[in-house]
Amino acid sequence: MKRLIAGLPFIAAVIFGGFFLWGLNPDRDPNEIPSVLISQPAPAFDLDPVPGLETPGLVRRDLVGNERPVVVNVFASWCVPCRAEHAVLTRFVEREGMRLFGINYKDKPEDAVKWLNDLGNPYERIGSDLSGRTGIEWGLSGVPETFIVDGDGTVLFRYVGPVVGPDAVERFTQALKQAGALPKGAAS
């Protein structure tokens, strides 16, 4: 009994030390919110095309039944990091054969059209989410966010924030490869 009491401070120190070690890990992002969507079916949604754009709109059906997993990117013309991410996504589409769908989040159609005309349009389909309601269905906390959706409609991966910079691109590439979202024999 005495021995047990004498050992308590040591045990407490080990427990707290363990927590500090976990808490001080520089790779840990305390702001990261675990997504409930991972391994869950993508939410139901039905979005009209952006007026003034020839790209068709996006509904949940479009995400299902594709031979490879597809990528859904939530973007807006008012979102500055989206501009940087746009180049990265375009490269993935053009060079690696990634299939990209877009959700235009709370964006004025004319702004979105101008933005896509200026930067180019890598999206196969774009749904206009003016109310932001579809964003909530996806558990969105901000733009940009990027999801990989499997052929059966299951969400495989979620990336919060812009896929910009070597680390983010590396993580995203790994996820794409793991999901099998890139065609075999693609460049690089």
């Binding site: 009491i5 702001n31 919110i33 675990p34 932001g132 909530i136 269905e137 906390s141 901000g142």
Partner: protein, 157 residues
């Protein structure tokens, strides 16, 4: 005086007005009150650690509107919270639910208090036992009374 109190109340008004904007509010005061209560238990996912009731973030506003919309369609408070929790996970709840994964969170404080009482009590009890009076042996008793007698004799002289 009455005017002064009125002025004071008017002065308080800006603090009472939260992020909830007039155009969001429901006309039914009962529903609005329920919406406010629900909003206070939901975390804003952008400015974390702030509830959506007091947050100015766009998503928080959308969620407030959603809460009200659900209430108007006749959802109960629990149903509204379940609806949002299904999309954003346990993380949106400012009050974590009681379930196996959170047992440690809920019961650890109680467990620590119990451990503290147990250990502290044990230490105090054992110390008290040591202080208990023990009879001196006959030999010690003689020595003590001898010393006391000598002291008394010394004091008298």
């Amino acid at each position: 005086m009455r005017q002064l109190i009125f002025a004071f109340c008017i002065g308080l008004f800006p603090f009472a007005a939260n992020a909830v904007e007039p155009d969001e509010m429901l006309t039914d005061p009962v529903l609005e009150q329920r919406a406010r209560e629900i909003s206070k238990d939901l975390r804003c996912v952008v400015c974390q650690n702030q509830d959506i009731d007091s947050s100015n973030a766009g998503v928080a506003r959308d969620l407030r509107l959603l809460v009200r919309e659900r209430l108007v369609t006749g959802d109960s408070d629990a149903e509204v919270i379940a609806y949002i929790r299904a999309r954003y996970g346990d993380y949106v709840l400012l009050k974590p639910p009681l379930e196996p994964a959170t047992y440690a969170l809920w019961f650890a404080p109680i467990a620590f208090v119990l451990i503290g009482v147990f250990v502290g009590g044990g230490v105090l009890m054992s110390r008290r036992k040591q202080e208990a009076f023990e009879d001196l042996g006959a030999e010690d008793e003689n020595t003590v009374s001898e010393i006391l007698r000598q002291n008394e004799a010394g004091d008298a002289s």
